[in-house]
């Protein structure tokens, strides 16, 4: 397979200077644009495998750029946002962004997110039905879940929640996304349901529920299932 092509839409020169060599060094092909207009044009001509999109662009609102992209492309989009912009992050994720990175971020974090996002698209058709991470083993095909070798019984809703998280394979899922997937339309307001079920999942599937390794909370945004947890 060719090296994945990553398009960076980011107006700050210094960040581009850091992003381009970091990504190139990891055998990605890199394109970069400093404005929304330029970025969208490049996205159309080159059809990149992944877009790193800054929310604060000089010429246009990053959110509308995302909307434009999503109108014709399903390729993963990772948002780069300033700290404390939970609302924007959630809005972007609900608009179809795949993940976000809060500035400042380190190279390791960046590469991990890109890997997760790319893995998702590249392996979408051949999803491995069995997931092993730490002591956690999830077999979606046979609906078998075990923690530390012991089989765990889940309720129907817990299972659906787990399934919704697994489907994202390490990407963040917003509260409203999880609520509508698990509880169906109309469940959006009841974030506390989600939290209670998440607490139950942790109790059953985490070694120490107060120090979750797998079911990671993104405060005020949502949850992510960490599938790269080291063995406890």
């Amino acid at each position: 397979m060719n090296q994945p092509l990553i398009l960076i839409i980011e107006d700050e020169e210094s960040l581009r200077r850091f992003l381009i060599p970091t990504l190139s060094g990891q055998q990605y092909q890199v394109l970069s644009a400093a404005t929304a207009a330029e970025g969208l044009a490049m996205a159309r001509t080159h059809n990149p495998d992944l877009v790193l999109l800054d929310l604060g662009l000089p010429d246009r609102d990053g959110m509308s750029v995302l909307k434009d992209l999503r109108a014709w492309s399903r390729k993963p989009v990772v948002i780069l946002s300033a700290r404390n912009q939970e609302r924007d992050k959630v809005a972007a994720l609900d608009q179809g962004a795949d993940d976000y990175l809060a500035k400042p971020f380190g190279a390791a974090e960046l590469l991990a997110r890109i890997r997760v996002a790319l893995r998702h698209t590249l392996s979408a058709d051949v999803a491995d039905p069995v997931i092993c991470s730490g002591g956690l083993r999830i077999d979606l095909e046979r609906r078998e879940i075990s923690q530390g070798g012991r089989p765990v019984k889940l309720t129907a809703l817990e299972y659906r929640l787990l399934e919704a998280l697994v489907r994202r394979q390490g990407k963040v899922a917003t509260h409203s996304q999880l609520l509508s997937e698990v509880w169906g339309p109309g469940g959006e307001g009841n974030t506390h349901y989600l939290r209670i079920y998440m607490a139950m999942l942790r109790k059953k599937l985490e070694v120490d529920p107060t120090r979750p390794r797998h079911f990671i909370t993104e405060p005020n945004v949502g949850y992510r299932l960490n599938l790269d947890a080291s063995s406890d």
Binding site: A156, E158, G186, G187, A199
Partner: protein, 651 residues
């Protein structure tokens, strides 16, 4: 030919009715488009008396209405006015009727008559008192009045008949006098004159001995008739004056009282809305009109209390200048009408605060004589609004100066903390760029330092931003009911990501209720407390526990460090405060942020020392509001691996 330019002259004394003269003068001058002059004749030789001071007030009022003012010194009013009239070539002179004279003295002896005699080429207009005007309003002479008068006289004659007759005119006279006075008072002067004649005749023919003598026309009887007429006149005059005075006093009392009540009620108002409510209630009660305040909001009016009485008003940007122009050039004695409503500008000390809009119930407009009181109301309301605006401005200014002070102390405090990591980064990067080979371990060391120091910078900036935004209210607390466990978990996760495994003992009871909190903020609070504990007691175990007590959730972070010196339990939450002797790291913002976050949740944070050494921080968050419904229990256990069908519909 220059006649149109001859001014109107208004003579002002110290009496209250001068205001009416001023208004009349203003009207007349406006009608004829000529200037007008208010003149006061100083007969006291320039001494400052109460009268002179009051006259000054009237002169100023006249000046406000565009009059030129003039003071003339003369021994008598007539002489002074003559001088003034000649000196100004006035086309008309307005003066009030002098009241302190007996009715019979008015004829031919008034100042007006005296001026007339001096042969002035000026129209002299005498303005009557409202009381006099009312006196002139005679009731119509009807058949009923005639019958009434005759029956009164009949009754008197009957009464007089009973009196022993021999020359007792002294007894009979008061009876008739009382009757004539009563008639004058009741049916007016015309009938009173008739009644005096009749009573003379009645007396002469009925009561005088010998009866029906022809001596009726004798001179004592004629005298009797005359005395009766004059006495009745005098009594009537006095009565009218008293009545008018009583009415005036009553009216003023009412004005003063209503203004006082309004002022007192306005003083208690804390918001423009309250001012609007109070003002409209008072105006409705006193004037029997509907009223509301219109406060300018960008491009539109905000009616308090809503709704606006006439929604078709032009926007503030148009109306306010127009009102102020009207106030200057328009008729200051008449309200500005808009549709069925009247508008008054609420002008305080320096600018218009809004508009008072009134809607009279009577389509003919405001009742006469109320306009001035309404203006006085408007001034009170404007002052109340202005007071609120100034209070608000003072508050803002205080916040601004506070911010300014904080900013400067912030600059001082963080200058050092920003520079240190920057210097390290700069230095390390410079070394790395130097030609020549650095050993691999050195290179890694420098690079690690760059990373660490930049993280420190990011952390510092993050803290600063958080604190500023928390304190300015820019962060909106998004409280959601959630298990405490979750936020504790994410805080521990963040700590570990940053520092690796930490010896933190967590004690969270299973049965803790859901807590309404902003996860991101409380996570930040916990991270700050844990960082703080870890900094002061490196390597020592930290205890984190929570419990639920009396409607609150308590969260405690305790360490085994040196503890908090006595007297510093409060101050350690101050911005940029660092304990004396505290080592490197930290700029004294972490705990300030904790306090701001706790307060933004309606909670508190307390610091204290722990039995057995070390410090402890207790955060208390209220469990207010109604906890959400627990999820429905209809969630069947899904046996792992057994049945692959999920229960169908969503909950």
């Amino acid at each position: 030919m220059n006649a149109p330019l001859r001014p109107i002259l208004v003579a002002l004394g110290s009496e209250a009715r001068a205001l009416r003269l001023i208004q009349a003068g203003f009207r007349l001058a406006r009608e004829r488009s000529v200037p007008w002059i208010a003149v006061h004749v100083d007969m006291g030789g320039g001494q400052i008396t109460e009268d002179a001071e009051q006259a000054q007030v009237w002169l100023q009022e006249a000046q406000r209405l565009g009059a030129e003012i003039r003071i003339v010194r003369a021994p008598t009013l007539a002489q002074g006015l003559t001088e003034a009239t000649r000196g100004t070539h006035a086309q008309a002179l307005l003066l009030g009727r002098s009241r302190d004279r007996w009715p019979w003295a008015r004829v031919g002896h008034s100042t007006a008559d005296e001026l007339q005699r001096r042969g002035l080429d000026t129209a002299i207009e005498v303005l009557d008192d409202p009381g006099d005007a009312a006196g002139g309003n005679q009731p119509p002479l009807g058949f009923g009045a005639m019958v009434g008068m005759l029956s009164v006289l009949g009754a008197c004659s009957g009464l007089a008949w009973l009196v022993p007759r021999e020359g007792n005119i002294a007894l009979v006279l008061p009876v008739y006098l009382a009757a004539v006075t009563f008639i004058a008072h009741r049916w007016g002067q015309g009938l009173a004159v008739l009644a005096s004649v009749l009573s003379t005749l009645l007396y002469s023919f009925l009561l005088e001995t010998p009866r029906f003598s022809r001596g009726a026309a004798q001179w004592p009887n004629l005298l009797f008739f005359l005395a009766m007429l004059l006495a009745a006149q005098a009594v009537i005059g006095l009565l009218h004056r008293l009545r008018a005075q009583a009415r005036e006093v009553q009216r003023r009392e009412m004005h003063t009282a209503s203004l006082y009540l309004l002022g007192r009620a306005l003083a208690r108002c804390r918001t423009p809305e309250e001012v609007g409510q109070t003002a409209s209630e008072h105006i409705r009660r006193v004037f029997k009109v509907e009223a509301c305040l219109l406060l300018p909001k960008v491009g539109t009016w905000k009616a308090v209390p809503p709704p606006s009485l006439d929604p078709g008003l032009p926007p503030p940007e148009d109306l306010l200048p127009r009102l102020s122009v009207e106030e200057r050039l328009g008729d200051p004695l008449e309200p500005l009408a808009f549709g069925p409503t009247y508008c008054l500008s609420l002008t305080g000390t320096d600018r218009s605060e809004g508009v008072l809009q009134v809607l009279p119930r009577d389509p003919a407009g405001l009742p006469p004589g109320t306009w001035e009181l309404l203006k006085a109301f408007a001034v009170q309301i404007a002052l109340a609004l202005e007071r609120l605006r100034w209070l608000e401005e003072a508050r803002k200014a205080q916040i601004e100066s506070e911010t300014e002070r904080m900013r400067s102390s912030l600059l001082g405090a963080i200058g050092h903390d920003l520079r240190t990591p920057l210097a390290a980064i700069h230095g390390a990067a410079g070394s790395l760029l130097l030609p020549g080979q650095l050993s691999e371990p050195t290179r890694r060391d420098l690079l690690t330092m760059i990373q660490d120091e930049s993280e420190r910078l990011a952390h510092l900036l993050g803290n600063l931003l958080d604190l500023t935004r928390l304190e300015s209210g820019a962060i909106q607390v998004q409280k959601e009911w959630q298990p405490l466990e979750e936020v504790v978990g994410s805080a521990l996760g963040r700590m570990e990501k940053r520092q690796g495994g930490l010896p933190i003992h967590v004690d969270l009871p299973e049965a803790l209720p859901l807590v309404p909190l902003d996860a991101a903020l409380i996570e930040q609070l916990l991270v700050n407390l844990l960082t703080n504990a870890q900094r002061h007691a490196p390597g020592e175990a930290i205890d984190l526990r929570a419990w639920d007590e009396s409607g609150c959730i308590h969260l405690e972070v305790a360490d085994r460090g040196p503890g908090i010196p006595e007297g510093f339990e409060q101050r350690i939450f101050d911005k940029f405060f660092r304990l004396p002797g505290a080592g490197e790291g930290g700029v004294g913002l972490g705990l300030a942020i904790c306090r701001a976050i706790a307060q933004s949740h309606g909670g508190t944070i307390l610091a204290g020392n722990r039995p057995g050494g070390g410090s402890r921080f207790t955060v208390t968050l209220p469990l207010d509001g109604t906890p959400p419904e627990p999820p429905e229990a209809a969630d069947s256990v899904f046996p792992g691996g057994a049945e692959p069908t999920l229960p169908g519909g969503a909950l």
